[in-house]
């Protein structure tokens, strides 16, 4: 670490400050100029921000180490540094791309046609979209833990009102639950940061990384901060707020919440475990994180297959995919318990996060379009949707395929890296979880595919028109996720990763995953997959199992059990850290 100077501004460092400021400048301009101008400002800023992220990526590519910018020229520990390494640059680029896609989609819902009356929901939406973007950029480039605290709070304050844009009682309740639970998470995070300052006298991340010792105060801090961040990321069993919030918000807002907002706190867990505290983090505690992730995959996927509404299905799929994002933590450790596979795990994690951000944004948009076109999004009544809305259905299915890791999606490459790491460290059980998660994802792709391609009993009538631009935006994001590994290999990753992508073995695995997924869907779906009868004596048993999972999900989403789970996770994490 000492070979690279992390405490002097580098060339291109000022761009980092610009990337954080740009969205906030847009917000202020919008507030000054008023509703009609805000969306114009937003549409100018989106390509500008994307260009800025590209410029940062180019500078990072040319530089030997991370980009650094010292605010006001003050050096840490007194000053604040902004830094961007490969992970930050990749995330900033992805977020800029997804924001552009979501912005194009939202133009139909929240854009103001000339002469139309201004509405509060539209004005709020554009303000909050910019705020989420700025806050996320700040999360990615912050160099110290306190600036990160402020960035995370900004992200929460921007995310919560997105939930209740529609203003109905149900969405307000979801927003309030989200806010209160996220606040519990932030207090725990702040408590951890305070302990670290007390122990080491700095919150600058590289300085902390040098000073940290595996001693109780650091372990307590890591356990508290991790638990707080898990509450904000909604990892099972702390997903109390996610399904109602993501399922109830307007599609353009759900896409922001599911694709972008949860990635902020997840990214910080990654930073803490792999960059700031590799000496404190232990393989046992990492098993806990991934164990919760595995539980999230199973519960989230089963409940997703049981949902009656497409949007809630996508929301529960997010619960499962968040679990997938936490599988990388034990795979950063080798068989001896040292963090030797850090690079591979971090690369896989960032790839998976970007793959999920792009695919899930596309899927939520597609679900919103289906709702707008058919007037409902009941999974059992989607027959004929493929003909009524081909582009959006394609976006949904391509997004699902990309998430399950079909070649050449980003999720494919991420899974491949993690499988290699599981092999190398002898943690075979995580290979099973990785493949199982992909099979579950295949399950809901098969389920929805069969429903939308089914022949409707009567020709669909009363179809509402939907914007073509919105459909293309959803499709564009889904396809971006499907082609992500090509971009990654063209960029900083070595090309041989994709060498065997189309081998018979890989295609066989893919076929097997589809088969298992179809079986899962057939067993757990509310209605038989094909026709109206069938399944015989097996289906009632699985339906019972599905009901048990749903009841369990409702139970852990009670407020008191979620709070107790939060404390338990913090305690268990701390206890496992001390045992290393």
């Amino acid at each position: 670490m000492s070979a690279i100077d992390l405490w002097t501004s580098t060339d291109g460092g000022a761009l980092l400050a610009a990337a954080v400021l740009l969205p906030f400048v847009g917000m202020l301009l919008g507030l000054l100029l008023g509703g009609r101008w805000l969306q114009r400002v937003a549409f100018v800023l989106m390509p500008l921000g994307l260009g800025l992220a590209l410029a940062i990526a180019m500078d990072w590519f040319d530089a030997e180490g991370p980009l650094v910018y010292l605010l006001g020229g003050w050096s840490p520990p007194l000053g604040i540094a902004l830094r961007a390494d490969g992970a930050s640059v990749a995330m900033m680029l992805a977020v800029a791309g997804v924001v552009c896609g979501i912005g194009a989609f939202a133009r139909a819902d929240f854009g103001l046609a000339p002469g139309a009356a201004e509405s509060r929901a539209a004005f709020t939406y554009w303000l909050l979209l910019l705020a989420v973007w700025g806050a996320l950029n700040l999360v990615f480039v912050s160099g110290d833990l306190f600036t990160l605290y402020v960035a995370l709070e900004l992200l929460t304050f921007a995310g919560v009102p997105l939930v209740c844009l529609a203003g109905s009682g149900e969405t307000l309740r979801a927003a309030l639950r989200y806010m209160l639970f996220a606040l519990c998470g932030s207090v725990l995070y702040l408590l951890g940061a305070v302990l670290l300052y007390g122990g080491y006298g700095t919150l600058d991340m590289p300085m902390l990384a040098d000073a940290l010792q595996p001693e109780p105060i650091a372990m307590a801090a890591l356990a508290l901060m991790t638990a707080g961040l898990l509450a904000k990321t909604a990892l099972f069993p702390l997903h109390i707020w996610l399904p109602p919030a993501h399922g109830g918000a307007p599609a353009a807002a759900s896409a922001v919440l599911s694709a972008l907002v949860i990635k902020g706190s997840w990214f910080l867990v990654l930073r803490l475990w792999l960059d700031v505290m590799p000496g404190v983090a232990s393989a046992q505690a990492a098993q806990l994180l991934a164990g919760l992730g595995a539980a999230a995959i199973v519960v989230g996927s089963v409940v997703a297959l049981r949902q009656q509404r497409l949007k809630l299905l996508v929301a529960y799929s997010t619960v499962a995919q968040i679990g997938y994002l936490f599988l990388l933590f034990p795979l950063a450790f080798d068989a001896a318990g040292d963090m030797a596979l850090r690079e591979m795990a971090a690369t896989a994690g960032v790839l998976q996060a970007i793959a999920h951000a792009t695919a899930k944004a596309g899927m939520f948009m597609a679900a919103g379009l289906v709702y707008a076109r058919l007037g409902h999004d009941r999974v059992d009544e989607l027959a004929g949707a493929a003909r009524a809305l081909p582009l959006a259905v394609a976006a949904f299915l391509i997004g699902g395929l990309a998430l399950m890791g079909v070649v050449p999606s980003g999720a494919y490459l991420a899974k491949k890296l993690l499988l290699a790491s599981a092999d190398e460290s002898g943690q075979w059980w995580w290979s099973w979880v990785l493949q199982g998660g992909a099979a579950f994802t295949a399950g809901y792709v098969v389920l929805i595919a069969l429903r939308v391609f089914a022949r409707p009993a009567a020709p669909l009538a009363d179809l509402k028109p939907v914007s073509l631009l919105s459909q293309w935006a959803a499709l564009g994001l889904a396809v971006a996720s499907l082609l992500l590994s090509l971009a990654a290999v063209w960029g900083p990753l070595p090309g041989e990763l994709l060498a065997k992508a189309f081998s018979l073995e890989e295609l066989g695995t893919m076929g097997l995953l589809f088969g298992v997924g179809a079986l899962l869907a057939a067993a757990l779906a509310r209605r038989p997959l094909l026709g109206n009868s069938g399944g015989g004596a097996v289906r009632p048993g699985f339906a019972g199992l599905g009901t048990v999972f749903e009841a369990g999900d409702r139970l852990v989403r009670q407020w008191a059990s979620a709070m107790l789970a939060l404390l338990l996770v913090a305690g268990a994490c701390g206890w496992l850290l001390t045992r290393a």
Partner: protein, 105 residues
């Protein structure tokens, strides 16, 4: 007992009361107050740590105070947003209950 220990113990008590309130109190407004009590506990702890971390010749480390004031402003903003949400919820549903209505299966 030194002043710092007294501060630290006070912080523990405040965090404990706050946690209890967050878990046990059903009304959102009480949860919000519990969050504020717990937050105050963390702030008191941070203030006490400033004394311990005092560097060369200063009576206390000034950095925690600068960070504290920011954290207090953030907590205040969070409280304001939550109260606004709660008021809208009561306006729209006539109740402040956080419990989800039973699933419509």
């Amino acid at each position: 007992m030194s002043v710092e220990t007294l501060f630290a113990l006070t912080a523990c008590v405040l965090v404990g009361i706050g946690l209890y309130g967050l878990i046990a109190q059903p009304h959102p407004l009480r949860k919000l107050i519990a969050f504020n009590i717990m937050g105050s506990g963390v702030f008191v702890l941070f203030g006490a740590l400033a004394k311990r971390g005092a560097a060369a010749g200063l009576p206390a480390d000034p950095v925690p105070q600068a960070l504290l004031i920011t954290a207090i402003v953030v907590a205040f903003a969070a409280t304001a947003v939550t109260v606004a949400l709660l008021l809208r919820l009561i306006e729209s549903t006539g109740s402040a209950s956080l419990a989800e209505p039973p699933a419509q299966d």
